[in-house]
Structures are given as C-alpha cells and as structure tokens.
Subunit: 123 residues, 2 copies
C-alpha cells in the first residue's frame, strides 16, 4: 500500500541526498578530480604546468575549472610578479579534506579495472 516514498523521506536520508547533491555540484565534470589530485600531488603549479600534466585538457576548460575550484575555496591562486608574470595554483587546507574521497575513488577505480582484467582472464 505504499504510494509515496518511504525510504528517502526519513530525515537522515534526505540530509544524505542533499549532501550528495551538494558535493557533486562542486565536483562534477571531467576534470575536477584530476586537477585536485594533481595539485595534491604536486604542490604549487602554474597554469602551463597543469595544462601539461592534465593530458587532453584545453586551456579554456582548465581556466574555467580552476575558477570554479577557486570560487569554492578548494584551491588558491597566487600571482607572482616575476619577470614574466607567473601564477601558482595550490590546494587549500579545505581542498585537502577531499583527499580521502579522491583516494577512495581512485582505489575503487583500480580495483574495478583489476576485476575487469580478472574476468577477461577466465576466457
């Protein structure tokens, strides 16, 4: 006789759903995790560094994603008045709180690929 939602109407679940939506709104797109991961590994990188590290990204995408991440306080940008002006992007303390999540995602992906490989070995 259930004609309406039963599970996700509990307060706990609604909060969780909202939280997932929130988190995803900051992290969607093809490149955000890659950018964050790269900045966690290599502290302080310039625009051109990132362009080289992130295989396949274009300058427009990179520029846009860096803005988004900066707006959300996940990365920070420092402009240095060096001879040819340079810029340093780095992860913020708050951005570092994503480390476990990125690790979890990467590890899951590694195991996923492993499981596909094992499946194909059965032939």
């Amino acid at each position: 006789m259930k004609k309406s939602a039963e599970i996700n109407t509990t307060q706990v679940c609604r909060v969780r759903m909202q939280a997932i939506t929130d988190a995803m709104s900051l992290l969607t797109g093809k490149w955000k995790f890659h950018i964050l991961g790269t900045l966690i590994e290599g502290n302080k990188l310039g625009f051109m560094d990132l362009l080289r590290e992130l295989d396949g990204i274009g300058s427009k995408m990179l520029s846009k994603e860096l803005h988004d991440l900066e707006m959300n306080n996940l990365i920070s940008k420092t402009i240095l008045n060096t001879k040819p002006i340079t810029v340093q992007y780095s992860i913020t303390e708050y951005g570092k709180t994503l480390s476990p999540l990125i690790d979890a995602l990467a590890n899951w992906g590694i195991n996923y690929r492993k499981s596909l490989y094992e499946k194909s070995e059965l032939n």
Copy 2:
C-alpha cells in the same frame, strides 16, 4: 626548465588518473549515486518505488540509469511473475563496494554545508 609533464608521468600517477577516469565513467550523471544510495538503504525496490524515492527524476532517466548500472554489474534486476508483473532492483555485492565511497561523498557534503552555515553565521 620543465617543458613537459613531471608529476603525472610517474607510473603511480598515471594509474591513479586512469582509475579516476574509469570510476567516473561508471558513476557520472546527476542520479547514479542517488540510485545506488537508495538501493543500499532500501533493499529490493521496484521501478515505481525508485521513481517516488528519487525526487525529481523522470522515468526516462531512471530507466536509462538503471540499465547503465545493471550493465556494469552494480545493481541487479529481477522480474517477478506476480499478478501485475513487478520488478525488483537491488544492489549487487560488487555494488556494495561503493558504499564507503558514497559515505565519504555524503559525509564530505554534510561538512561542506556545515562550513557554509558557519561562514554565514559570522555576519
């Protein structure tokens, strides 16, 4: 003098990058985490149940996403020959391995919202 990538050329980083790409290819979209999360909470749900639980989703999207998730062995579908034919979707054992990731995402989202709230309280 670095004119080429330095960080992501290490084997470890390339594997990580690939892993993130792999994982995301299965999990992108507005609804996949919500569907998986709902199926983890409420074991065995019908199509209409999910349509009610997932506030805002349309039947086309739900149908497509369920197919995708089933193709990737993250959920399973059982057709019951009940009076009006019913269907049961449930999470697979493999799908359950995403639980920690979904929890991490949800918890990060909860803290994110909390941090926004704290910021706005400073006014």
